[in-house]
Each structure stands twice: as C-alpha cells, then as structure tokens.
Symmetry: none
Subunit: 211 residues, 4 copies
DNA sequence: GATGAATGAGGATTCATTCAT
DNA sequence: TATGAATGAATCCTCATTCAT
C-alpha cells in the first residue's frame, strides 16, 4: 500500500518523510474543517505547500490518504486512552469511569484537530472511520463486560448495545464541543463536560433514591 | 398579456404529483443507502424511472431535493413523537421515558428508510440534517428541563449537554440498528432495543444501591 | 413554414389567431429586452400566458418564431419609412434627408419595442436580422444613388459603402437611444437626435467654408 | 505549513504559456467566426488541441476567457490607434482624420481576426464588448470636442451623439469588410474604404457648394 | 523525489422539442 | 387547439489521477 522510498541518500529520505508528514498534517487540518467530501487533493497539496502530483508520490490515492489520517488519529486516541487505563491506582468503579472520561475529554482538548477529524460525521461512513467507531464500541463494550464481572455494571445491560450508545453520546458531545472550541465559540469547561458525561453514563438521568 | 393558466387537467396533476413522489422516494432510498455525497441526480432519476431533466421539473436543484427528503423524514418523525407524547395517561417518570423510547424505536422500525436517511451521518453536516439534529437535541433538552422541574431528573444535569448526549446515543444505536435490519443482518428485537436505551437513559450503567 | 389552422369554427380560428399574436407580442417584448440568446421558449410562453407546447402549435420552432418577430418589425419599419417617402411635397435635398431621418427617429420613438428588437445587436447575426440590415443598406444605397443622379450627393461616394456606413450610425445611435428611453434613463430629445443625425449625414463633421 | 513553490521549470512555464496562447487564439478564431453564444468551451478546446479541462486550468470560466480575448483585441486596437496618433507631423484637420481612418482600416486589415471579434455584433452585449464600444465612442467624442476647440469641427455637433454615430459607421463598415475579406469574398481596397469613410465623416453626403 | 500541466470521466443543470390527454 | 409533464442532448465545470521534465 505504501511505497518504500528508494534506498538512496538518507537526507533525501528524511526530506521525503517530512513531506509526507506535511501532507498528512494538511489533510488532517482540512478534513477536520470540511470533512472528506469537500476536501480535494488540490486543497491538501496547496495547504501542504506541495504540488498535486507529490501527494501521489506518498499515497496511492485519495482514499489511502484519508485512511491514513484517520488511522493516525485513531492510534493517537488509543495511545491517550491506554495511558489513562494504565494508571496504576486502586480506583472505585465511579472513579474509574470519571478518569477515563476525563482522559477522552483531555484528548479532545489537546488534540482538537485529530478529534475533529475522528468525530466528523462524514468520516463515519468511510472504512477507516467505521473502524475507529467500531474500535470505540468494542472497547466500551469490553469495559462494560468487565464491569459486569466486577458487579459495577448492571447485569441486564447488553454490552454491545450499551457500548454503542455510550460511544454515540461521546462522539456527539465531543464532536460538538470540539467544533465550538475550534471555531472560537463559547464552550463548556472540560471539567464540566467530563463530569456531565461521566455522571450520565454512571447514573443516567433519573434522580437516585436516597443518594 | 399575462393570463392565469386554466386549472384543468386533474389527471395530469395527479400524474405529476405521482412522479414527484417517485422522485422523492427514489432519492430517499438512495440517500438512506449511500448518503448525500454519493447520491447523484442521475442515480435518482434512474431509480425513479424518469429522465434526469425531469427531476429539475419538480425540484429547483439537487440541494432542494435533498432538503425536502430530509424535511419529510423529520416531519414524519415529529409526527410519530407527537403521537406518543399526546397519549393521555398518567405515567410515572420511568414509564414515560420508556414509552417515548419505544415510540422512537417504533418509528425506526416502521419507517426504516426515513430513519436511515435521517440518521445517516453524512446528512448531519447538511443544513437540513443539522436542523433535524438540533430539533432532537432541543426536544430532549426540553424534556430534561421539565423532568428537573418535576424532580424526575437529577438537578445537576446540564439539559443541553445531556440532551445532546442522549441524542447521540439514540442516533448511533438506531442508525446502526436500522442499517442492520435493512441489510438483512440479525438485529436485536425492537423491544430489547427500547428497553436497553430507556434503562441506560434512566439509570446509566452503574448498579443501583438496593433497588 | 406556417400552418393553416384547420378550417373548423371561425371563433376558434379567431381565438387561435389571437393566441398567435400574444405569442408574437411576448416574444417581441423579451427579444427587445434580452436579445435572442437569452430568450427561452419557456419565457415567451409564460409571458404570453400560454403553455410551452402551444408555441409549437403556431410556430414550427424557435428559429421560426424569432424570424417572424423580426420580419414583423421590419415590415412595420418599411411601412413607416414608406409613409414618409410618399409624402407629396417639393423638398430640397436637405429637407428630404431631414424628413426621412425624422421619420426613422419617430419610428424608434413610437415603436420602441420593435426598434429595440430590430436594432438589438444579437439579432444582426440571425438570417432575419441580417435581412433587415441589408434592406436598410440597400435603401440607403438607393437613396444615395438617386441623390447622385440629382446632384445632391457627392459623386465620389460609393453608395453601397456609404449606405452601410449610414446604416451603421443609425442603428448604433437609435439602438442606444431606444435603450435609454426604454430603461427610463435620460435621453436626448427626438428632434435633436434627428437633427444631429441629419446634419452629420449631410455635411459630416467639418466646418463648412463660408456657410 | 505553507511553502512557496520553487520557481523552477522554465521550460514548463513556457509550455504552459504556449498552451494558454493556443487557447486564446482558438477562442479568438471561433469568436470571430461564430460569436460568443455559439462558441462552446468544447469547440475552443478542440480547436486548441487540448482537453476541455485544460481550458479551466488557464481561465477561471468561460466568461473570463471571452473577456480576455476581447480585452486583448481592444488593447491591440488601442495600440494601433495610439501609434497613428503619436505620429509627429503637422497635419491639417482633414489630413488628420484621413490618417486616423487609415490607421483603423489598417488595423482591420492586419488583425482581421481581432477586428472580427471586436466588431462581432454579439459581443457588443457583453461587458467587455460594451467596454470596447464605449471606449471607441469616448475617443471619437474626445476627438470631436478637440476639433471643435480648434474650429475644425462644426460647433453644433453634439460630440457624444456624433461620436456614437461615427463609431456605428466604422463598426458596421469595417465589420462587413473584414468578414468579406476573411471569407474570401471580393472586398474593396483598404485605401478606398479609408477614403470613403474619411470623406463621409468630414463632409457628409451632400455636394459641397463650390469645392 | 518533486513538479504542475494536462487529462477526461463524471456531475449538475438548462432548454428546445414532443406527445398523451 | 391547448396543455404541461417528460425527454435527453448539450453545456459548463470539477477533480482525481497521470506523466514528461
């Protein structure tokens, strides 16, 4: 799928890699802003300061470029989530959920562009976008299943279905939140967003009897 | 020099209206399947069994056709939801949420195509799609606000944020569910879907202390 | 080229003739305003208060309709000019030129729409428009030739060339003048226009030695 | 992220410029022959020996291409007229008019295609064509005004009106003349055309008392 | 590796013309 | 006669992709 550049001079290799990165960065910026259907190769090339043909030196076609941007974003997200997950700490169920939600919100805050790409609706219909979505669903489902094993999560929940619902709310809210922040509109504080999402996830909307 | 054309030709009027409907139906089917960017006028015309030019006899442009399909779908959804809402009955908070969720799932089941159009991610970036989304968010937020007034809903929830989260889960789950059903894959029972969504919404994922 | 309507009821025939006239009038109005390339059959039909198909009942095609509008306008012009020409009066050369020029300006003033159609640049490239032009050239040339015979017109002038030049100035000035009047802009007085055109034609621009 | 593209590839630049010129030339040829409404981009591309899309590489749209052809033709005309005007010579009024008229005729003879474009009736309704026309009217009017100041031109002439009339005859005669020459028909000698036009302009059609 | 001009297959839209009612 | 919905060829323009330099 990718092409290994010729084995010649290392400086050239490095330069080529840099070009490749510039193209990816340019594509990410445009995809975050406009979504896939409205982002043309010409736009990407211009933004990257590169000729249109150069894009095809580094990616076989438009589709592959898009896929790679999304894959990169997804792996960054995985990285961020893994970091949170790996935190060594005894945590209560609720604290764990809160911590993970904060991690997700932090990712959206710190990698706003990647988040905007990942959560852009038009990308959910591409293979790579769908893959990202399904990864999130799967990990949420896994978390729920594990939670059920530990009696943190209600046993009547269908992990796959509930996981998908949770991902839906996360994508929707974070996508909206990131867009607002990126476009300079007022947006709730990250701490609040995380708290709201975590509470909603843990306890739903209903008042709890005697809590 | 102007003259109002005679109103005659009712058969023709009916035929024209039928053509218009065929075009709308064809567009709905294709939009549900492929989303807006991949649905061309030529495809719509072929599916409707008319010439390409005919589409422009009934709609000023592609955009207007898309808008109308989405608007139709949205108004059908509103209709379905209003019906549920108008049911005269003393309902508990939980029963009310369940009933409304069932109504939504029923809409998705009975108007699978419209639901698929409405929930197709690519449509959320169009004006009409965004309108549909914001309508849902607003009505969820309103429901939450009212619930807070009646002490059904936890007062710490931010209605707009939580409403958006709820819409996210509904769109995600119902979109996925409708797609599976439409493509003939196995999909959970409507009753289960509604129950899961309602429970998740009411109580979240955590086990409830002594319930 | 034309079609004789069926021999049936006379009332119907009269109605049909009226429709035909309405179409011609509508076409004239639009051609005067927009010129041929921007005037569509749909526009003509709407303006005439008639269905698009009806136009084809009275004219074999767009081209024929255009041709007839132009032909009508030309024959009106011929009529107006013939009237002036037929005035029984002993006239000096100069008076004759002035009278004829006044006649042309009067036509432009009184039949502004026909004049606008006739003088619209885009019509000069159609067969009918070219015919109108060539008619004017021929009659100017004839007038010049006659003038030469009577020693009113300088013998060194090439009638065909000079006639074309005269037509050029008439079309250009009257076209401009009619447009201004039709669009409500300030425009010189008809008397002035005629006087200027006649003087220019008779004596050119140079001051005359001892006049 | 932006980067100024290297300026290299002079050969390519030259080739691109050549393509651009080929397109302009093709457009000029077709516009001269058929006028704007009948000249399609496909025709231009075919005539230029390029693909249709290539045209849009060099011109933003059809309109811009047309505008540029007309602007080029106009500037060539201005150049030719300026050359004549700048000739250092003591000239009598009549000699001056003759010289200028000869200059115009020479332009029509030497740049037949450009002249045909410029004088094609359908172009007079485009913004660029109108601009060309108004430029000519303005310069004729200016010449007349100056002539009046020097007592070469009759004081009773309205410069703007007379200027327009003169332009009308020039366009009409030269347009006709160029067309004949371009289509291989017999056409008067340039010297004769210039002489006739100049005489007509100076003295009109009437015999002059004692000349 | 990089360039960017060139390509051409679509895609949206218009409009003269036809024809069943 | 009149209608007006339907047709489809023609036109403008876009954009992913190629390739000679």
């Amino acid at each position: 799928m990718e092409r290994t550049p010729s084995t010649g001079g290392q400086a050239r290799q490095r330069a080529a890699a840099a070009t490749r990165e510039r193209i990816l960065a340019a594509a990410a910026a445009l995809l975050a802003e406009y979504g896939s259907p409205k982002t043309t190769i010409a736009m990407v090339a211009r933004q990257a300061g590169v000729a249109a043909g150069t894009v095809y030196l580094h990616f076989p076609d438009r589709e592959a470029l898009l896929r790679e941007v999304l894959a990169d974003a997804l792996s960054q997200l995985k990285l961020a989530l893994a970091e949170v997950a790996s935190e060594r700490a005894e945590r209560s169920a609720a604290a764990d959920v809160r911590r993970r939600t904060e991690g997700l919100v932090a990712f959206a805050a710190n990698h706003a562009e990647l988040a905007a790409v990942l959560f852009h609706p038009t990308h959910l219909v591409t293979p790579a976008g769908r893959e990202a979505l399904e990864f999130l669903v799967a990990s949420q489902a896994a978390a729920l299943t594990e939670g059920q094993a530990r009696h943190w999560v209600r046993p009547d929940l269908e992990p796959l279905l509930a996981g998908r619902a949770l991902v839906g709310s996360l994508l929707q809210v974070l996508g909206w939140w990131v867009d607002r922040r990126r476009s300079g509109q007022i947006a709730p504080d990250p701490v609040d967003v995380a708290a709201q999402l975590a509470n909603l996830r843990l306890y739903g909307t209903a008042v709890r009897p005697r809590e």
